[in-house]
């Protein structure tokens, strides 16, 4: 083991970091855009809730469970044709985003459902007693009341996505994971591996403490 980092091409590392951040940003965005409504629908159709619908809930719940139980690396490979259909390629930064979203959105939806369940049922009832429509309840009660839970959920999801982006390097997804695989694993350049891992670690640390701080700020309990 040498500590001179002689194999490290810092420009390439910089590019890889940018790629990872791009993947992370877009996949988080789409994960929330898809996972949040999905989580809300799961919650609303579950037992005893406003739009209780057993059949719908069972089917949606099953699909979510299936997507969550397939290991991400396999999901990525299985999704290659779908990815090509959506973004035209299964390679690079662009090709990595759809599988990331497919992998993380169901996970996030469950987190959303769980934090909505934390809301006191009485508060929803109070809103109903004031003549709130279901839409109004979602916007004015469910989302604000679960705000800190949702932020915590987004934090966990983003951190999970960091490791997923690294994994997507395996099928040519670009970014830091790609570097780690190509140099660190395939050419035994341990120093490159170490640098990428440290950068990923720093990213996770920053995301987690940012998330924790926001949760604290919005927590009113």
């Amino acid at each position: 083991m040498d500590w001179t980092f002689e194999n490290v091409d810092w420009a390439e590392i910089g590019e890889g970091t940018m790629d990872t951040l791009t993947m992370l940003g877009f996949s988080t965005l789409f994960t929330v855009l898809i996972g949040l409504p999905l989580g809300i629908i799961l919650f609303l159709t579950s037992r005893g809730q406003l739009l209780q619908n057993r059949t719908f809930y069972m089917i949606a719940s099953f699909v979510v469970n299936v997507l969550r139980s397939v290991p991400f690396i396999i999901l990525m490979i299985l999704l290659i044709p779908v990815t090509k259909m959506i973004v035209g390629t299964s390679l690079g930064v662009l090709g990595a985003i759809p599988p990331l979203v497919f992998g993380a959105a169901p996970f996030f939806a469950r987190l959303v459902e769980t934090s909505l369940r934390e809301i006191d049922k009485g508060v929803i009832e109070a809103a109903q007693s004031m003549g709130a429509s279901n839409w109004q309840i979602v916007w004015n009660v469910l989302l604000p009341e679960s705000r800190s839970g949702l932020i915590a959920g987004i934090t966990i999801t983003t951190v999970t996505l960091v490791s997923y982006t690294a994994m997507s390097g395996v099928i040519g997804g670009g970014g830091l994971g790609d570097l780690a695989i190509r140099y660190g694993y395939q050419r035994f350049q341990t120093d490159v591996m170490i640098v990428t891992v440290v950068i990923l670690l720093v990213m996770v640390q920053i995301l987690q403490s940012l998330g924790d701080r926001l949760v604290l700020k919005f927590s009113r309990k």
Binding site: E125, Q128, S129, M130, G131, A132, S133, E145, R220, K221
Partner: protein, 368 residues
């Protein structure tokens, strides 16, 4: 739909240091809330659990109607049927002339704005400030911002929380939270306020201050209040009429004073005992009865007679010796009343005559 109620007996109301005499009169009143043949049952694991089994109830504009019952009697179910948070299995819920069970979702939401509700556990939005909580129903009704601000300030003043506008519910005491709940429930100028065990999570002192606030609102705004409770104290403090619910049925109802002083149904009697420590009395009566052939009577004074020496004068005139086994002088909302349990020590004929005289002079006497 109209109902005609006749308030039968003349009564006195003690207000601002004077007694006001209310004449017998027949009143024609619009019943604001009418529940007709209300049934509600729950399906739990294929089994049918009846919660309400035929409720018929009329609540008039401007009154405070109390519903009292034991745990599981169906109180919450009943009050939640009034704004259809719980949909009855069958029956009609007529509020202000409209049968709510026949309305579609949109119309029902509109109607619910005229029915405020407060809850045992307050159910405030924890992520909103006091001011935002009170503004909430107005926001739902899409009122202009300036109007909302004005209304919120008025309401906070009414409930005495102006200084706490920017606090969050978690920073308030239980009593303050309930005041926020009340202000919020009043935001849309409702005709009715439903109170689901509104004071059950509060200590006795705070309970009294919330009850005083409700009474104040009832008088100031002419708001009709329906409250449910398992405490007779709450009924006695502010209600005009009371319904006793047991096993999903109203088993006794009437003016609080009548029900309180002459409870008929065993459940009602239990509740009355909550505030009248009658167990000791029962023991005393039994002890006295066992010890000889004596007359024991319950004498009831109402209104102005409570403070007149009728009993003493009569006893003096007839020369009867008596002793008091138990006594209360208290007030039911506005009406003072007294109840004494006495033991007459004369012979049977003389006692009979004394009792007759007391009755002629307007006291109620019941031999026990």
């Amino acid at each position: 739909m109209r109902t005609y109620t006749l308030r039968c007996s003349p009564f006195f109301v003690y207000e601002k240091g004077v007694f006001i005499f209310y004449q017998d009169y027949g009143r024609e009143v619009d019943a604001l809330i009418q529940l007709r043949h209300l049934h509600k049952s729950y399906q739990v694991q294929g089994k049918t659990i009846p919660a309400l089994t035929g409720i018929d109830l009329s609540i008039e504009q401007g009154e405070i109607y109390g519903i009292i019952g034991h745990s599981g009697a169906g109180k919450s179910t009943l009050i939640r049927c009034i704004n259809l948070l719980e949909r009855p299995t069958s029956g009609e819920v007529i509020v202000d002339g409209v049968d709510l069970t026949k309305l579609d979702e949109g119309k029902l939401q509109e109607k619910r704005r005229a029915i405020g509700m407060i809850f045992q556990h307050f159910n405030l939005l924890s992520s909103s400030t006091v001011g935002e909580n009170v503004a909430f129903p107005l926001k739902l009704a899409k009122r202009p911002k300036a109007e909302i601000d004005k209304k919120v300030n008025e309401l906070l003043k009414l409930v005495g929380l102006e200084a706490h506008k920017d606090k969050y519910p978690s920073q308030l005491s239980g009593g303050q939270k309930q005041r926020v709940g009340i202000a919020r429930a009043l935001a849309n100028d409702p005709k009715v306020l439903l109170c689901d065990e509104a004071t059950s999570a509060l200590d006795p002192q705070t309970t009294n201050s919330i009850l005083a606030l409700l009474l104040d609102i009832n008088r100031k705004l002419g708001l009709t209040i329906v409250l449910i409770t398992h405490e007779m104290h709450v009924i006695r403090s502010i209600c005009d009429r009371v319904g006793v619910i047991d096993g999903g049925k109203i088993v006794e109802s009437g003016n609080v004073l009548d029900v309180f002083l002459r409870p008929k149904h065993p459940t009602t009697q239990e509740f009355v005992e909550q505030v009248a420590d009658s167990t000791e009395l029962r023991e005393a009566v039994e002890h006295e009865k066992a010890s000889g052939n004596r007359t024991i009577a319950r004498v009831t004074f109402l209104g102005e007679k409570t403070y007149q020496p009728i009993l003493f004068q009569t006893m003096q005139e007839t020369g009867t010796v008596f002793s008091i086994l138990q006594g209360t002088i208290s007030r039911m909302k506005d009406t003072p009343y007294g109840q004494l349990v006495i033991e007459l020590e004369g012979d049977v004929a003389q006692n009979q005559k004394t009792i007759e005289t007391l009755r002629q002079r307007g006291l109620e006497v019941e031999v026990i």
